[in-house]
Structures are given as C-alpha cells and as structure tokens.
Amino acid sequence: MIKLNARIPEGVLSEKWTNYKAGQKLVNPANKRKLDIIVVGTGLAGASAAASLGELGFNVKAFCYQDSPRRAHSIAAQGGINAAKNYPNDGDSVYRLFYDTIKGGDYRAREANVYRLAEVSGNIIDQCVAQGVPFAREYGGLLDNRSFGGAQVSRTFYARGQTGQQLLLGAYSAMMRQVHEGTVKLYTRTEMLDVVIIDGKARGIITRNLVTGKIERHFGHAVVIATGGYGRAFFLSTNAMGSNGSAVWQVYKKGAYFANPSFVQIHPTCIPVHGDYQSKLTLMSESMRNDGRIWVPAKKQDAEALRNKQIQPGDIAEKDRDYYLERRYPAFGNLVPRDVASRAAKERCDEGFGVGSGLAVYLDFADAIKRLGKHVIEERYGNLFQMYEKIVDENPYSTPMMIYPAIHYCMGGIWVDYELMTTIPGLFSIGECNFSDHGANRLGASALMQGLADGYFILPYTIQNYLSSEILTPRMNTNLPEFEEAETLIKERIAKLKNIKGKQSADSMHRKFGLLLWELAGMARNREGLTKAIKEFTELRNEFWNEVRIPGDADEMNPELEKALRVADFMEIGELMARDALQREESCGGHFREEYQSEDGEAKRNDEEYMFVGAWEYKGMYEAPVLHKEELNYENIKVQTRNYKI
C-alpha cells in the first residue's frame, strides 16, 4: 500500500511555492532534448502544458480524440476566468481568491495547492493578453472585469460569452507554434486506451487510431493526463459527446488513486430537458445571474397553469413571484455558488412550483432591461440569448428564460500531490481530470484558471523535479513485454466487445445507465439509493457485457466501438461514485446527502469525521476498492459553516 503523501513544501503558506521553486531540481537544456513527454488531451490544461514544455525544449507528443486540438471541450466555457488582479480596486487579493476558493469548495480542498493557484492567476491573464486573446475592455483600453457566483469582488476576465474558446485558441496557437518548431508532435483522432507501467513508473501509452482502428504504442519518460472530467457518465450533461473518463479510469486501474469521485458539479443554469431523444444539455453562462433574476410562481396553482400553458409568465403579478434565492440568501442573492443555486431550484420544482415541463425555473431579464436598456443586455449576453432562442424557439428579451440544473464539471478526479503527480511515479494529472483545487464545489470561472495554471505555470516546473532523475534513462523500445501485454489486453477487450453481438446500442445502454445514476447518485443522495445503485450498476454492467451491439469492424473508423469502450468505463466509474457518496456521511458542496441537512434544507457538513480527501485504490474487478484518507489541515483559514445568507 502506498502511503498518501501530498509532499507539501514547508514554510508559511505564501512562501511555499517560491520556496519549492527555489529548491526544486531542473533539467538542463541539452538533457531536455533527450526526454519525451506524452500529453493526453489538448484542452486548456493539455495544450498549455504541451506548448510550455515544448518551448522549454522537451520532446512532446500530444494526443486528442478530436480531428483538431482546437475542438477540446474547454472551448465551450462561456463566462470567464478568475484572477486576483484587483484591477477594479474592489478589495481583491491573492489571499481573498484563495479564501473564496476554499470556502466555495466547502473546506474540502488542499490549502497549499489553492494558494498557489491564486498566486499564479494573474500571470495567466498576462500570458493570454500577450498571445492576443481579445478580452473585453473598458473605453480607456484597459481590461474589464465582471462578477461571478461565490465572490463579492469583480475578478472575472472575459471575452464576450466565448472566454473558453478564446483561451483555448490561445493555448492551441501556442502549441501549433511548437508543432512548427518540431518540439511537439501532434496525434489527432487518436484515443488513449491504456497507460504502460515499467518497473513502477509510467513509461508510455497504448492508443487507437480512430481513422484506421490501428492500435499503437508510444513511449514517454513521463505521461501527463489532461483529459477532463467524467461527467458524461450521466449521459445527459453539458459535456461534449466525446468527453469521457476512460483515460482517468485506465490509470486508476493501473494504480493511480481516484480522489473524491462523488464530487460532481451540477450547474444551475442550463436549458431544461425537452425530450427523450435528447443527446446533451446546453449551459447558459453563470454570468447571466449578474443581471437575471431567478423566480418561480409563489402559488402552486399559477405554476400548474403555466405548465399547462393556460397563462404566460408575464401574467403573474410581482407579489405572486417567489425570487427564492433572494429570499433565502439575501447577502448573495442570485449570485450564490452553483451547488446552492442548483439545490434551491430542485427544491422548488420538487415542491411543485416548477414551470415548463415542471423541471424548470425562470431566469428573468425584464428588470435588467428596464434598468440598463436592451442594448446593454444585448452587448453583454447577445450570443447567449441567440443560442437560447435557436434551441428553445422563444425570445428571451421578451419572455423569461427557463433553466434547470445539469451535470457540468467534476471536482473529483485522479489524486495528485503538490507536484501534480499521481500515486504512479512519472504519471501526472492536470486540469479537470485531477481532484486538486476545487474541493467539493467549484466556483464559476475557476476551471479555466486551474487548467491554465496547471499547464502554463505549475507542471512545467514540477515535472522537471521528476525528470531530473530520468536524464540517464534512454528512450525505451516499445517492443518491451509491458507494451506487448498492454496491447494484447486491449485487443482482447475490443474483440470481446465486438463478439457480444447483442441487441442494444451503446447509446441506449448509456442512456439507461445515466438516468439511473442521476436518480440515485445525482443532485440528492441517500443511503438507501446509493446502496441500491451499487447493486443495480453491477447488474447493468453485466447486461452491457451481454447485450451491447457494435456494428462495423475494429480496424476501421467505428464510432460505435469508441462509444462502447467509453460506456463500459462510465459504468464502472458510476459505481465508484456511488461508493464514495455512500462513505461520505455528510453533505458538502456538490455532494448532498438527504440524511444530513438542517431544518431549512441547508447542507450539514461533518468536519469532525470527514475533513479528508477520499482517495480510492483499485483492487481488481471482483474486489471492493480501498479508501485512503488524506487529512486536510486548515492553518491559514478559519473553517466555518458556509453562509451566503448574511
């Protein structure tokens, strides 16, 4: 058993990162050329890491399943990126961003990592501006900021409603510059199917070429996983269709610990489900809560009449509207963190006050339009309003939007130490796919910050501390038995799937599984449901391995095979999520256990017993995983009940 050691540097919090950098080992330029680094995933974290490592002179191999790295799902992030620049002079600081992030995460994140994140946040903005990212500007030519949930300052930089796109294109361009320089080699339409471990260290990966179906082997002195979250386990989510948890799951099965798998974020402002054929959900940026007011009818009969389309939202008098977030949380109002806003919406709908299909609440801009004028709202959210209108066929300038929570982001992920290294030496995990910075709930505009912090400013340092001891390791031949064995196992797995020749498509089984996961381990969880989930997921998994149907061949482009491989992993991930949610007998952040709530429905944390990171160790297909605990110590922040009321 590996003892969990986060390897946090000594010293006072604000000096840890400086001290680390001063004391760490580096690799000299001549040796960098001799070292190969594999980066899997080309989103914000992967692309920024590949670019930065290439610039330093390492040999980088970057992999993505999409046809171009520019399509990674970071591109869909809308609202913005946080940084403690304090440009608006409203009282922000590195400490405050650190404090807000720890508090927003409900005191389940590691202090040292979060402080470092806040520390480098300003550098990210500088870097992106230098790359030509067209952030929003004031008339004087300086950068504009807006506010986001969970903070009382304006620290969010943005590029209209396309911040993720612009930041990703910045990182992508930087990486393509390195492709041109020859330091980064790009493998598109290539999916990682396993990691290869030699003498206890990560030494390469096995991939499938999605065009030809060819299984290929790649060596690296180190392997970096930057493959994002596993939220599409739920089938319906705001993630891209191809987003998956397979890379993360394979490294878990090879010995990397999986931390807090049950910490999944449910985003409060998504366009509601409109049919059983639906393939994904679309997010409406949280930034809209700056100007939009959330409400449902105060009377049940009004809600029912609205659902039956007998009346219009405009027919409800002001006094008959329940602005429930403003009512429950006067201090933060519509800008409470995501987990709080999501649960409050669910509570109203469960009580019978929902509109639309019954699973929707209003996000109303009428007041903002009256106050600021339509043109201001159009300038701020124009593209989002247009997107809403295209999907829902209603004009949000004249009628309130309908929204409902949906799965959006995974706080949980591969356990990493301060250096972002997993429990497998030489295997690193960055961006959403690690667990490190957001605790039990992520604040809005912090995902982009973390992805780029890891890729531009943290990993390029910490990976050298590891690689400095690898400079004498020659490039290994991929004919070694470890590569051979990994490839054989994958080929067997694919052949097994192909030979099932059952009756159900991968999508239909995924949909069934996703619904069950949402019902039993989604926004509200309880002991009974979670226990049932573990049992039913096992049954569903058996059904999958007896029933799935994959037309076409393995040695050609075959999206059904790709899906089946991912769904098989999602089903196993779901079970670990349920186990983790079951062991955590408290409510914190995105994890809400119905047994642990106050009389007015607020989450009840249990710091005495659960102030730890729950890291799971894989023990084999037929054995229960083992839970390891990393105790969290708060030395620089006073732990208190999260209160957004006063």
Partner: protein, 261 residues
Amino acid sequence: MKILKFKPGIIKYNTMNFILKIWRQENARVKGRFETYHVSGISPDCSFLEMLDILNQQIIDKFEKPVCFDHDCREGICGACSLYINGRPHGPDSAITACQLHMRKFSDGDVITVEPWRAKPFPVIKDLIVDRSALDKIIEAGGYISVSTGGVPDANAIPVSRKDAESAMDAAACIGCGACVAACKNASAMLFVAAKVSQFAQLPQGKIEAGERVLKMVAKMDELGFGNCTNTGACEAECPKEISLQHIARLNREYLTAKIL
C-alpha cells in the same frame, strides 16, 4: 401525439417525418453514393444531429453500419460538425452550426439531402466525415503571436482601444469548421485565414509579426490546394459565426503592405 414520461410534468408535441438522402462512403479510396432513409416520429424541437442519432439507432437495430459524422460539443462552438444540408453548409438557418439546427426549420415530409464538405483539401474519411487538418497546418504556419510562457508584461501594460478589441473579437470568433471553404465555388480558405490575420493585425501585440504572418499563412493556404478568393461572399453568407468580408479586405491590405515593404 406522443407523450413523454416526464416527472412531474409532461411534454406533448406533434411529430414529423422525413426522407433523408445521405452520402455514404466507406473510405477515401472507394466511391461514395447516396442512400435513402426514412425517419418518422421526429419532434420539431429535435436538433438535426439528434435526428441523425435516431436514424443511426434504426440502422443499428438492423445491425448495419451507422452513418459517421463529426460532432462533439453540440452547442455550436467546437466547430466539429460539418454537414452540407440541402446544398448549404450547416443547412437552412443562418448564424448557426448544424448541431444547432432544429427540425422545426423543415416541413413535415421534406426530402433532406446530407453531404460532406466538398473541397479538394478536405478529403472524405468516411461518410460525412472529412479531413480538415489542412486548417491546422495553416495555423501552424504562422497563426500565432510568437510569445513563450512567462516573461510577458502585465496585462494592463498593453492598452487596446475598445473598438479594436471588439473588432478583433469579431474575427476571433471563427470556430474553424470549414463552412467557408465548403460554400466557396473555388474552395478558398480566405475567410478562415483572414479571421486569424485580422484578429492579430488589430492588436498591438500582433502588429510586430503582422507582415510575416500574413505571407506565411497565405502561402500555406495556396500550397495546400485551397482556391483563390473571387469575392463572391458565399463564405460570409454561410459562416455560422457571421464573420465579415471586411476581414478579407483587411487581409488583402496586410498582404499587399507586406509584399511591398
């Protein structure tokens, strides 16, 4: 009327039927052909890609190979989807990608033709999927500002007028889908290249390499077999992000300046 089992409410909708003529092609080496399919019971709120999902489920039920098409984010921003629907890139709606096209834009009983992007630099990989890596190669040739990580000035040390920043953002909105190429009778990638050139040319950070950048990117575009621009404006009309021809004008200006100086 079909009734969905939603708790606690219900959604009712009238369904639609369509006849689909879809381009099927095993791989780049063999000839393709149109196949006809029927889909029924489609909700008007269903997106075009969800309608294709329903078709593919029907095909899988017969244990045949489903139609391959590129798609990922399904919210109009990743640029993966690349369907030529009834003779138009991304189909009969404006300012959207195919994933945001909804069946309510069609009439019940319509015959819908679906093809891949047709352009020499975009060879078909399978069915409706084409290889657009040529666009990455153009970016690789110079579609960036040459700064490495670290050592950059404070973000507010580089003021940019709001007008320039907004105009740069208009250009930067390009999603790299290739609809401009598919729409162009010359298969020119001019709008794609112009979007990047224009974004950087309007920012002080990008001005330093502006001349070199435009020459390299245009040379690469020509080398990869994209056609010339004859100003027909089809690209602008079909661009899902409504990128303006003005950026092509700016590219031409930048190109001429760079050539002369």
